[in-house]
């Protein structure tokens, strides 16, 4: 960089910013999004797709009418929940990359309630569904507790640990779906009985004809409720204060008497549990069975959702809806790597843009300094 600067009459310096105007952060986020879309557009053009058409397609097929909007909300539901899970953990600087695995184990836990079964067969929905919710939470929480314990006890890097556990969870589901629970050897279990289905809007089509075909389900309400609960925990509770303090400065947290090890376990457990609920809503609300590879990477997209929402629980909701639309449309776009590419580009541009939040670019005229040196 210096070599380039030598040829310019000015040099650029990054100077730390003392305060930032309130409009700067949202402006930078919006700017980063635009830049990311442009860059992705360039890549699309390189492989021969028409970026404008691709983006248009995404808008229309995800937000174009009430029907697709309902489908988008269906995709957004697990994203809200996993986004919350990631936000909670990231707030304490615990990099839970395992939301995907915790989602899978939650799905398994919820399915176990029905398929073992853990509640008597034929029980009414009012019993089965809450039991599945608990099963989902427990499944995810236990799966989150493993990397949490490894980190608290041995200082194991949680990023790699959670990633490994994601792969293990994936294989675990495969075992059950191709093995003991399989339906005819195909990669799925039998369909759940009706009492294990989360109610959807289309269930009410007899009463409200406009709801015909709308598959958005009660899981969406669960997700919104979870967002409010997480908000309350983080912003208003003493535990939330400990999380925020530890995330900002672990040494100060220790000095303040916070039991960091215990909090690592708790946060990972709760984070995993929330992701587990996402798994439950998917098997009980969408596919109504447990099947192989039912998640298009919700747990990974959740990381970007959490980051874009700046780890704030309530902001996760609109961001998740946006990305839900992206995932929905992404299923029909060729080439298949496009949504991942766009997501990666967005995240990258976001973090690159943050530099302007902490620093401002100062342009220094080089002529002055050289002249005064000669004047000596």
């Amino acid at each position: 960089m210096t070599a380039l600067q030598m040829r310019l009459p000015v040099s650029f310096r990054l100077e730390p910013r003392l305060t930032a105007p309130r409009w700067l952060s949202p402006a930078l986020t919006a700017g980063a999004l635009v830049v990311a879309l442009v860059i992705s557009g360039v890549f699309l053009a390189i492989v021969g797709a028409d970026p404008i058409r691709v983006y248009q397609h995404i808008l229309v097929s995800s937000f174009g009418d009430i029907g697709v909007l309902s489908d988008t909300l269906v995709k957004a539901t697990p994203l809200i929940l996993t986004g919350l899970a990631c936000s909670l953990a990231f707030r304490m600087r615990l990099w839970n990359i395992g939301a995907e695995g915790q989602l899978l184990m939650g799905a398994w836990g919820a399915s176990a309630v029905v398929l073992f079964p853990l509640v008597p067969a034929g029980s009414p929905a009012i019993v089965v569904l809450p039991a599945m919710l608990v099963g989902g939470f427990l499944g995810g929480a236990l799966w989150g507790l493993i990397p949490g314990a490894l980190r608290a006890r041995f200082g194991v890097n949680e990023i790699i640990a959670t990633l490994m556990l994601n792969s293990i969870a994936f294989a675990w589901i495969q075992y059950w779906v191709f093995g003991p629970w399989t339906e005819g050897g195909f990669q799925m279990t039998r369909k759940f009985p009706p009492e294990a289905w989360l109610p959807r809007l289309s269930d009410l089509e007899a009463v409200v004809p406009a709801f015909r075909g709308l598959t958005v389900h009660a899981g969406f309400l669960i997700a919104i409720a979870a967002a409010v609960v997480v908000w309350f925990i983080v912003e208003r509770s003493a535990w939330g204060y400990e999380i925020r303090l530890t995330g900002d400065n672990p040494r100060a947290a220790r000095y303040a008497g916070i039991r960091i090890g215990r909090n690592v376990l708790l946060v990972f457990a709760v984070s995993g549990g929330i992701a587990g609920i996402a798994g439950m809503t998917e098997v009980a609300g969408v596919v109504h069975r447990l099947q192989d590879n039912f998640s298009p990477g919700y747990g990974y997209t959740a990381i970007i959702v959490a980051y874009l929402a700046k780890f704030k629980p309530l902001r996760v909701i609109p961001v998740a809806i946006l990305f839900g639309g992206l995932i929905l449309a992404g299923r029909e776009i060729q080439p298949s790597g496009v949504p991942a590419m766009i997501q990666g580009t967005i995240l990258f541009c976001l973090i690159a843009s943050e530099v302007f939040l902490r620093y401002k670019v100062a342009i220094v005229r080089r002529a002055t300094r050289v002249a005064s040196a000669k004047a000596g």
Binding site: A238, L245, D248, R251, A373
Partner: protein, 550 residues
């Protein structure tokens, strides 16, 4: 008085005529000034650190740069050393204008800076530390041969060091010698020493001054940054005083200057800390340490059986050179480090108890590291101020935090402790050092502790903040708290404390009343000497380091 140099003739208006250095046999260079700074200006966000500063350094002299913390001395020298670039102004070395883009250029020009905070790699050896950043050897690293070279160089300059020792094994004085060797090895003709005596005991200071004089006798020139008037008067040939980024006295000869004059130039008024000190009858024993032993982070014993009592309404000051166990002492009492032995607070043993419980027992801790431990930089003032009280009423309400009560308390504290900040929602990292310390003191005192541990409470603060901190500590003392003051600044300890305890190599080697204490004797104890054998401590250390690493 340094011998061998030509003395300077002074002119009443402050214009200085540089003398001729007594360098052996060297022909006079183009300019008798080793270094000249003209009109240096440097701005940082929110502050002008240097404002049109002029400074000259004659060859072979020791030139002191005096000023209180925040006056701009370190910034000026960092510019000279190439770490920063000036916004305006010129630098001349031996009469030639130069522009340093990085420390590398400064080193090439014969300048070497010994920083206040040592920049050394703990996990590497002395030799490796000295060899970092050199252009040759081209590729292969022959540590043994280079180590021998370094030992020779050290010997020639009166510095004792073992080249193979790992840095983390060395004492502070030894580490400073490595820093000096770093610049000597690179052929530095001009040395800039930034507060070199801040971490040394009085005897070590004498050793350092001897070394500096032998270096000037060899033709080197030294800039000596300090805020300690006594030292400046004893070692410097000339003095430049800075205040708030400007020069208030430029290159005055040091002989004949009084400390009062220098103080006035530094601060703009007579500096005489007038502290209200009331005599209090001895209270109950609040803190009792009984044969406390603890290990340091490096797995070496740091505390080897410390026993000490502190009573209510009393300040006990710990005088010690850095690295003798003070940090660990503060940590075992506040629960941040495990230990053996007993630590009784009002009769109850809190040794090895969780920090939470120690805080609940009424122990407050003003930590050494303000920004790394004492505050959460990106959280607001409110969040920082409730750090010790969020589990108790009125801030706590069941499992939640009553934000209304928290904010009211924060506003209250901000006003009464004069914490200067735009609002209570300002992030802590934006506060100046003095204000951060006010915040920490406000927080710790607010819980009305019966025991306070204050570690380096005024390091790096300007005079106003120092006075405020001292006043608050004394107020707490009057209110009946027991205070353990751990400070490297012997003056501060002697001013504030009722009794002074000397900590050396993890043991208390002496306790006396502060009033009428013999500084010389205390200094001796701090370096492990006894009145019969003053030099025992230092050499032992070097030999031990040598033995452990054959």
């Amino acid at each position: 008085m340094p011998e061998g140099d030509e003395r300077m003739r002074d002119a009443p208006s402050g214009i200085v005529i540089p003398g001729v250095a007594a360098a052996s046999g060297s022909a006079p260079a183009a300019s008798p000034l080793a270094v000249e700074l003209r009109g240096i200006t440097k701005r940082f966000p929110g502050v002008v650190a240097n404002d049109g500063v002029d400074f000259t350094l004659a060859r072979g002299e020791v030139h002191a740069l005096l000023g209180e913390n925040g006056a701009g001395k370190s910034t000026l020298m960092n510019i000279l050393d190439g770490l920063y670039q000036p916004d305006e102004g010129t630098i001349l070395i031996d009469g030639q204008p130069v522009a340093f883009r990085s420390p590398r250029d400064a080193i090439a020009a014969g300048l070497g800076m010994v920083h206040q905070h040592f920049t050394l790699v703990d996990s590497m050896s002395v030799t490796e530390n000295i060899l970092i950043g050199l252009d040759k050897p081209r590729f292969r690293l022959d540590l043994r041969r280079k180590g021998a070279e370094i030992a020779e160089l050290a010997e020639a300059n009166g510095l004792r060091v073992h080249p193979g020792a790992k840095l983390w094994q060395l004492s502070v004085g030894e580490r400073q010698r490595v820093e000096i060797l770093k610049v000597l090895y690179r052929g530095a003709r001009v040395l800039i020493m930034d507060e070199p005596t801040a971490v040394l005991a009085p005897q070590e200071v004498d050793d350092l001054f001897r070394t500096l004089r032998s270096m000037t006798a060899a033709g080197r020139s030294i800039v000596f940054i300090s805020h300690k008037l006594g030292e400046v008067v004893s070692i410097a040939d000339r003095v430049t005083v800075m205040r708030r980024g400007r020069v208030t006295a430029n290159g005055l000869p040091a002989t004949g200057m009084s400390k009062a004059e220098l103080a006035r130039l530094m601060v703009g008024r007579e500096v005489l800390e007038s502290l209200e000190r009331t005599w209090l009858p001895p209270g109950d024993v609040t803190l009792s340490l009984d044969n406390v032993q603890a290990m340091s982070d490096m797995g070496v014993p740091a505390l080897r059986g410390v026993s000490l009592d502190v009573r209510a309404g009393e300040i006990v000051g710990i005088a010690a050179v850095a690295g003798n166990g003070q940090s660990e002492l503060a940590e075992v009492i506040s629960g941040l480090r495990p230990c053996h032995g007993r630590i009784l607070v009002s009769g109850e043993d809190i040794a090895n108890h969780p920090v939470r419980k120690v805080i609940a027992r009424g122990v407050a801790h003003v930590p050494e590291d303000r920004t790394g431990v004492g505050t959460a930089p990106n959280l607001s003032l409110v969040d920082n101020l409730i750090m010790k009280r969020y589990r108790h009423k009125p801030i706590a309400r069941g499992w939640t935090i009553d934000m209304g009560a928290a904010r009211a308390s924060a506003t209250d504290l901000k006003d009464s402790y004069e914490i200067s900040a735009p609002s209570i929602d300002t992030e802590a990292r934006l506060l100046s050092g003095g204000n951060i310390q006010r915040l920490i003191l406000a927080r710790e005192i607010e819980s009305e502790p019966k025991l306070m541990i204050a570690v380096q409470p005024t390091r790096g603060l300007d005079v106003g903040a120092v006075e405020a901190a001292h006043r608050l500590l004394l107020e707490r003392r009057t209110a009946g708290a027991a205070i353990l003051l751990i400070s490297e600044d012997l003056d501060e300890v002697l001013t504030l404390a009722d009794r002074v305890a000397v900590l050396y190599e993890g043991r208390i080697v002496g306790i006396e009343d502060a009033a009428g204490a013999d500084v010389g004797r205390i200094g001796l104890l701090m370096t492990g000497g006894t009145p019969e054998d003053p030099l025992r401590g230092e050499d032992e250390h070097v030999e031990a380091a040598a033995k452990g690493l054959a």
